[in-house]
Symmetry: C2
DNA sequence: TATAAACGCAACTATTCGGTTTCGCAAATA
DNA sequence: TATTTGCGAAACCGAATAGTTGCGTTTATA
């Protein structure tokens, strides 16, 4: 079963879980309280997030606290960056066009 | 059928298609030539990418050229940005700790 | 010590997904 | 005009997915 960070963030519930535990570590029960689903379903999502190391767990008595491994999200950032360069380049070209028009206007 | 940009980029083949047509518009056949799969399968991926407006098509005779709607990727960028702020904050805190240690060292 | 709480795991189910094959249509070409 | 080419749509299939229910285990509590 191939786990992929892109696949991990594809599910809206998992993105919500990420948002929740980004603030502070939470237990499965506490997380599940925010959703209209069972704790077991949340546990499954947490397992997927753990498998691709987006989440780390810390046992504390009978509770397990899950927190976000934020560094892993950089992988997404690196992917998007190549396209960010493209759209910024395009924006700069437009910017150049606009300033050229402005210049021509001033020279009239 | 709920189409979502996060779901669209979850598939590795679709990410490859995005990378291909980011450079220049391409036809389904030309795209499919880069993969070990049928044109029809690529067409399905293109339909999904089109449905969430990540891709636009331009008919030219009997050919259809697909190109990337790069602005749509900003949605991913906006999502990742909130976490980027978190990890940069964390990095700055670490940076602060390091410079404090350095300072204490100098004061010895 | 008996009970309750917190959790992971396994079995099961309905749905979605990625792929193929087959088809029909429109445009280019022989 | 007959044939080839480029394409999307539909039917179908196996695998993966997201969810449920029902366990068993460990830890806390009455």
């Amino acid at each position: 079963m191939r786990r992929d960070i892109f696949q991990a963030i594809a599910d809206p519930t998992r993105r919500s879980i990420i948002a929740l535990i980004a603030i502070r570590a939470m237990t499965p029960n506490a997380i599940a309280a925010n959703f209209d689903t069972t704790r077991q379903a949340i546990s499954k999502h947490l397992r997927i997030l753990t498998e691709c190391e987006l989440v780390r767990q810390e046992q504390q008595g009978r509770e397990i606290f899950y927190s976000l491994e934020i560094e892993r999200l950089k992988e997404i950032d690196i992917w998007i960056d190549q396209y960010r360069q493209l759209w910024e380049k395009r924006f700069n070209q437009l910017d150049h066009v606009l300033s050229t028009i402005k210049q021509q206007k001033n020279e009239e």
